[in-house]
């Protein structure tokens, strides 16, 4: 972790299985992780960390807000303090879904499904830059995504690759992409349409 980075806890595990978990969170909007964020959760009584990728963020129904939405008029100055309270103080409940891509046990990284899911109410934290670079050192972190039909892997892979590449020195990025592209070509060789779709999205992501 660089000195400027801070540990961001995003919530507690609500439910989990071996392929991923869902986090319940009440954090203010600027701290809500984005699609493709690398996060970690303690597993095996804290002996290891599961590493995963955020693949879905859903805003939960909030009856309080729903009730207010009917009555409040944003332009009415009489309601200015109430609108500020809702925006600045009230963090709406968020469910963040994470897919497991590997785990870290001391200095060792294992790719694929972890030995066990995190326990309910375990605290989830956003990975530091160093942790992201380490888990993405080899493209094998993509394996769990390619095998998982329950997550939008074809969108998630380009986003994760772009995020990981952005944390590397510019002179290493091309090699990183080429390595990942070769891995995808090997694993999606029997599905050229999907391969092209993923590579095309990766190309679009890197163009942005």
């Amino acid at each position: 972790m660089t000195p400027a980075e801070k540990t961001i806890s995003i919530g507690n595990v609500l439910r989990a299985d071996i392929r991923g978990f869902v986090v319940a969170s009440r954090i203010p909007e600027p701290d809500v992780p984005t699609f493709g964020t690398f996060v970690r959760a303690p597993i095996q009584q804290g002996q290891a960390d599961l590493i995963g990728l955020v693949y879905n963020i859903s805003l939960q129904d909030d009856p309080f807000l729903k009730n207010l939405a009917v009555a409040l008029d944003e332009d009415n100055p009489h309601y200015e303090e109430i609108i500020r309270d809702q925006r600045d103080n009230r963090a709406i409940p968020v469910e963040i879904s994470v897919v497991a891509v590997g785990c870290r046990e001391g200095d060792r990284t294992r790719y694929g499904l972890p030995p066990q899911p995190p326990m309910v109410l375990n605290r989830i934290t956003v990975c530091s830059s160093a942790e992201v670079c380490e888990i993405t050192r080899r493209p094998d972190f993509l394996r769990a995504l390619l095998d998982n039909r329950d997550v939008p892997a074809d969108e998630l892979i380009p986003t994760a690759l772009r995020r990981a590449a952005g944390l590397r020195p510019s002179e290493q990025r091309d090699a990183f992409y080429v390595d990942a592209g070769r891995y995808l070509a090997r694993n999606l060789g029997r599905d050229p349409v999907r391969l092209e779709r993923v590579l095309r999205r990766l190309e679009l992501e890197t163009d942005e």
């Binding site: 507690n12 319940a24 009489h78 303090e81 500020r84 309270d85 009230r90």
Partner: protein, 387 residues
């Protein structure tokens, strides 16, 4: 498992009974309205009833002023700019003798809402009770929920005192709002109760010294203090104490009458009560007065009982300011003050919070070499509760 199909007859009877009660209520309201119009002057009612109240023979309302019982007042729907409203509510985890760890928790939450365009401030305070003195009563039993309720009320009032003291420098109206009656609701049965009431009144005094106006807000009030007063107006002075139980409007409550007399945005005359708690309040210069207010919309009355110390009700402009503030606060939540709803939300200890706290408590015990264990009953219930 509940066999709802076996309850069909009872459910049908419940529906029929509700319809009959609604009809009876309409008739009763008509009677109450007639009594209200014909009520004797407030001063003469007070003259007759105050001695009875002092003897503990009159539980109903007493007119607090000479205004007629039919008096109504209104106020603007927005308070003056700069008004500050501190609202507090509390929640608790009750002690559970079946739990792995015996403890209880009170959390109070508050919202400071300033009418100056700024974001309101939210505050919380937690109090964990785990010592034997806090948990076990004189007979060796786990303390009753009522005792926790008393402590919660004291914490709420102290927290309100803290929040208002922090605002002390302001020259603007400063309101201190709490959810529930301001008049101490528990009977005084021993020294512990007396100490609790003393602490509560001390917090009320701090609020007064901070220049704030305490308000107790009772949503959907269930009492019939005013209806008893109207019944007394139908009786000869000498027969009031004996015939009080004969009030034919026993099944009605004041709010049904008020829903027919107060238009949206209006409040009633001020009343007071003469019970034992009131005497202690009065000794501490916090005699509590109350009025009813309609915070609803046309065709949808929302009646609340608003309790304040007499010195608030008598202060120039204070009643109008608190009335205007409550009107504004209630506009966006269908008749319930916004700041109180938020204070409740801030104070709320969720099931998830409780699980996290109990996990932390158990970790502490295990670190001390103690393996906590819930009762077998609690363990079994926790399995079934997950269904």
């Amino acid at each position: 498992m509940l066999h709802i199909e076996r309850l069909q007859a009872a459910l049908a009877e419940l529906g029929q009974m509700a319809a009959q009660q609604a009809q009876q209520r309409t008739d009763d309201v008509t009677t109450a309205l007639a009594w209200l119009e014909a009520a004797p002057p407030s001063a003469s009612l007070r003259e007759v009833l105050t001695p009875l109240a002092q003897q503990g023979l009159w539980p109903g309302a007493l007119p607090a002023t000479d205004a007629p019982l039919t008096a109504r007042a209104t106020a603007p729907d927005v308070p003056p700019t700069g008004t500050v409203l501190a609202a507090v509510d509390g929640s608790q985890i009750f002690p559970d003798r079946h739990a792995a760890v015996l403890y209880y928790l009170i959390q109070v939450g508050g919202l400071v809402f300033r009418y100056n365009g700024q974001t309101p401030e939210q505050h919380t305070r937690e109090n964990l009770y785990f010592r034997e003195d806090d948990l076990i009563d004189a007979r060796g039993n786990v303390i009753a929920q009522e005792r926790v309720g008393m402590r919660r009320l004291i914490h709420e009032m102290r927290f309100l005192a803290e929040l208002t003291e922090a605002e002390k420098t302001t020259q603007q109206p400063l309101l201190a709002l709490t959810d529930g009656p301001l008049l101490w609701p528990y009977p005084e049965r021993g020294s512990e109760d007396a100490l609790a009431l003393r602490d509560y009144l001390a917090a009320l005094t701090r609020i007064r010294e901070a220049g704030a106006l305490p308000i107790g807000y009772v949503d959907r009030p269930g009492g019939r203090y005013l209806l008893d007063l109207l019944w007394a107006g139908q009786l000869k002075p000498g027969e009031i104490a004996d015939r009080l139980p004969d009030n034919p409007l026993q099944r009605l409550s004041d709010r049904w009458l008020m829903a027919h007399t107060l238009a949206p945005g209006e409040r009633s005359a001020w009343f007071t009560r003469g019970n034992a708690s009131q005497q202690r309040h009065t000794q501490a210069r916090h005699e509590v007065w109350f009025c009813y207010g309609n915070l609803g919309q046309p065709g949808f009355p929302v009646i609340a009982r608003v309790e304040v110390p007499a010195w608030v009700a008598q202060r120039d402009g204070a009643a109008d300011t608190l009335h205007a503030t409550l009107r504004h606060q209630a506009q966006v939540l269908n008749g319930y003050p916004y700041a109180l709803a938020r204070a409740h939300e801030i104070a709320l200890v969720t099931t998830q919070d409780k699980l996290a706290l109990e996990g932390a408590l158990q970790q502490q015990l295990m670190a001390a070499g103690i393996v906590p264990r819930p009762s077998e009953k609690a363990r079994q219930k926790s399995y079934l509760g997950k269904r």
